[in-house]
Every structure is written in C-alpha cells, then in structure tokens.
Symmetry: C2
Subunit: 216 residues, 2 copies
Amino acid sequence: MTAITSHRSKGRPRTFDRAQALHSALEVFWKRGYEPATMGELCSAMGINPPSLYAAFGNKASLFMEAVEHYETTYWAAPWRLLDEEPNLRVAVGRFMTEAAAVLTSLDAPCGCMVVLGTANVSPEAQDVHDALRALREVSRTNFRKRFERALDAGDLPLGTDVATLASTFNTLLQGLSVQARDGAARAELERIAEASLALLPHAGSGAPADGRGRP
Amino acid sequence: MTAITSHRSKGRPRTFDRAQALHSALEVFWKRGYEPATMGELCSAMGINPPSLYAAFGNKASLFMEAVEHYETTYWAAPWRLLDEEPNLRVAVGRFMTEAAAVLTSLDAPCGCMVVLGTANVSPEAQDVHDALRALREVSRTNFRKRFERALDAGDLPLGTDVATLASTFNTLLQGLSVQARDGAARAELERIAEASLALLPHAGSGAPADGRGRP
DNA sequence: CGATTATTGTAACGGGCGTTACTGACGTTA
DNA sequence: TAACGTCAGTAACGCCCGTTACAATAATCG
C-alpha cells in the first residue's frame, strides 16, 4: 500500500486518511455522545485499530476535542457568520435559527448539537472535556450578545433593551432545540420554533419595557 | 435494631427507611445522570449495601424510574398545577417559568432537570430508560398546549394563534433552561430568561400573524 | 544494502461496572 | 422453644471499558 498523504519523514507511512478518519469519529461522537461512544465503535467507524488511533490522535479525550473543532468549523462557522453579516436584525436572527434547525437535524440519526449534548452527563473523570464544551456554549451566547449590542447601536432594538438577557434567552432556546432534535423532532418543526422565536425581539420604536413585563 | 416500617409479614424487617433511601438515590441521579451514577455511589448515599438495594428496588433501571416518579411529584406537580389553575394566561406562564427556574437550581450542585438531562446521552443498552423519559418530556409539551388551547377559547390569545408551535417553543425554552442550570447559571439569571419568554405570547386583540413573521 | 524509524495487527492488561452467591443475624409463627 | 422466612454484610462474578506491549512490516536515510 502507498501512503495517502505525502510524508517527508522516515518510517512507515500511515495507510489511512487522517482527516477522513476524524470525520468518521465525529459522526460517532455526534450520535452517541462522548462517554457512550466506545473506542471499539470509533475504531470500527474509522476503519483502523486502537494503536493507529492512539498514535494519530493521542487518546479518546483529545480525539473528541479535535472532532469538536472539526464540527464547529464544518457546521457552525457559516451560520454564525450569517448572523454577523446580515444587516437586518430580524432577517439575521431568523436565518440563523433556521440554519440551526437544519444543522441539528442534518444526520440520519437523532443528533442535536454535539457541543450541547456531547457531555450532557458524564462521570467526574471527564470533567476536562465537559468544561471545554461549556466554554464553547458560552461563546454561543457571546455571539448573540455582540450581535444584539450592534443592533442596539444601529437602532434596530429599543433603547434600554436588556441585550444580555435577550442573548441568554436565544442561547437557551438554541440549546433547547438540541434536546428536541435528539428526541426526534422533524426539521420542519424546529423551523416553526425558529420563526416563533422572533417574537422575542422587541420592535424599535415601541418603548422598551423597563422590567420585561408585558402590559397586564 | 427495630424495624422502621411496621411489618405484618414474617422474616427479618429491613433496617432502613425505603422512602428516605429513594430520596437519596434521587439526589445522586439528579446530579450525575443515569449512567454516570454508579451503584457504589448510590449505595453510599442511600446508606445500604448492594443486596439490600436490589431486594428493595429491583435493579438500577427500576430504581431510576422510581426516583423519576418521586422527582416529578415532588418538584413538578405543583408548578404544573399552577399553570393550569391560574386564570390569567400571562401570570400563569410567568409564574410557572419562574417556579421552573427555582426547581432547576434547587440542589447545591448544578443540576437542571432530571427528565431532560438524566439520559441525555446513554449507551444503547439504556434505550428503555431513555424512551421512558422522552415520553415524559412529551407530556410537558402537552401540558403547555392544553393550557394555550384553553387560553385561545377564553380569548386570551388571538384567533388563529398556532398553539402547537407556541407550546413547542415554550417546551424548548424550558429544556434549554436545564442546560443553562447544568452549566451553573444562577437562579436570578434563569428568572430573567423566564420573564423574557413572556414576549413569545401574542397579545389578544392584535391580529394573529398568519405566517409568524414580523412586520419588516 | 544495512540501519533507523514509524505504523500495523494481534492480543492482552488493569480497572471499574452492574449484579449476585453465600453465610450469618434477626423477628415472626406454630 | 424450635422451625421458618427475610434481611444484612462480605466477597466475588463476568463483562466491557480505555489503553498499551509486542512483534512484524514498510518506508526513508547513510
């Protein structure tokens, strides 16, 4: 057999495509979650044996983290850019949430978001991985908040809008969509929820509610 | 030692309080989730040894399901009744979501909802438990939907309101709150999100949006 | 061509999991 | 009091987990 990637160093070259193996690992982790995914299952899906896996990726935790990076850039970089670049706030949020609904139902099996559900309940030994994913979830809220702050400056949100809470609310809804997707919700249903979420955005021009309560 | 519960049958009576042991098991399952909670940890918390546990509760799965029943009646029966009995829709929803925020942060450790996160990612062997909890999550949405249908009849929601999607949206938000709580969000923050969620309720009198889109 | 270096497949390692024999202790019944 | 039935504690079972020796193989370097 010949090497798939050209090697400059000495030694026997690996006979599998590292990037392709990583993508296979991603699918397993996505469907099963971090701890339920076994090394045997990963090896089968990647088409390699344990020593090859450990030589190429370190151990289970580092393989998972690399898979998460791959997941983020492959599936979520574009939606977040869309939220950022679309000038109309409501269009931006609506499209982002609709894209999210598509991503969360993109695999055949019920999946949801790997970052939200991947380490939803893990044993204490996996605390490191759990914390790393929590940091990524925090990034999601920050993305929302920055977008809403810009909208506030642009006059697309009423003065006095609590953008922090608004961002938390959308982030909460986004994470809830993962649970729905994992439970087998159809993409169309997630899209309806995505549309309904736009009602959370207060309209500029209407006075901003001081305490968030509606008129009784 | 004397028996704690009076026995009418023959044989040596058990020396521990079954209900109290169940509550201890609930706390462990709540904090850790179904599979990460080990029998050793459960036995320690319950103050008994494996044979006593198996004699009293069957096995891990049946102990978990019984703990879930106990959890539902102890923590969620009252909030759901509140949603059902409070006549004013917005007050009902607002109070329910606020109560939910309190429940989801009621334990010292980060917890979230046991039904939402308890079997978030499990190995295929625990499919039965996973399915049972999914059915319970479905009940949650049904509760919302019935309440909104009543509100529609009472004129508290505009004619033509998509109550099914509205119920799904609140259910999604509720499940997202569990992820937030598990990530260590403070109760006050969950309460702010709970208040913000009221914006999802369309006001009666304003025309119901035919397609859910806001005015551009 | 040897020497070196990395990868490969097989097979196994220690450890922790859920679960259960087994033996002794205890309270009820006859 | 003697027989019976259930519970308690110790210790172990089989299984599967993530991980790794080990020897064979295949490429590059001198």
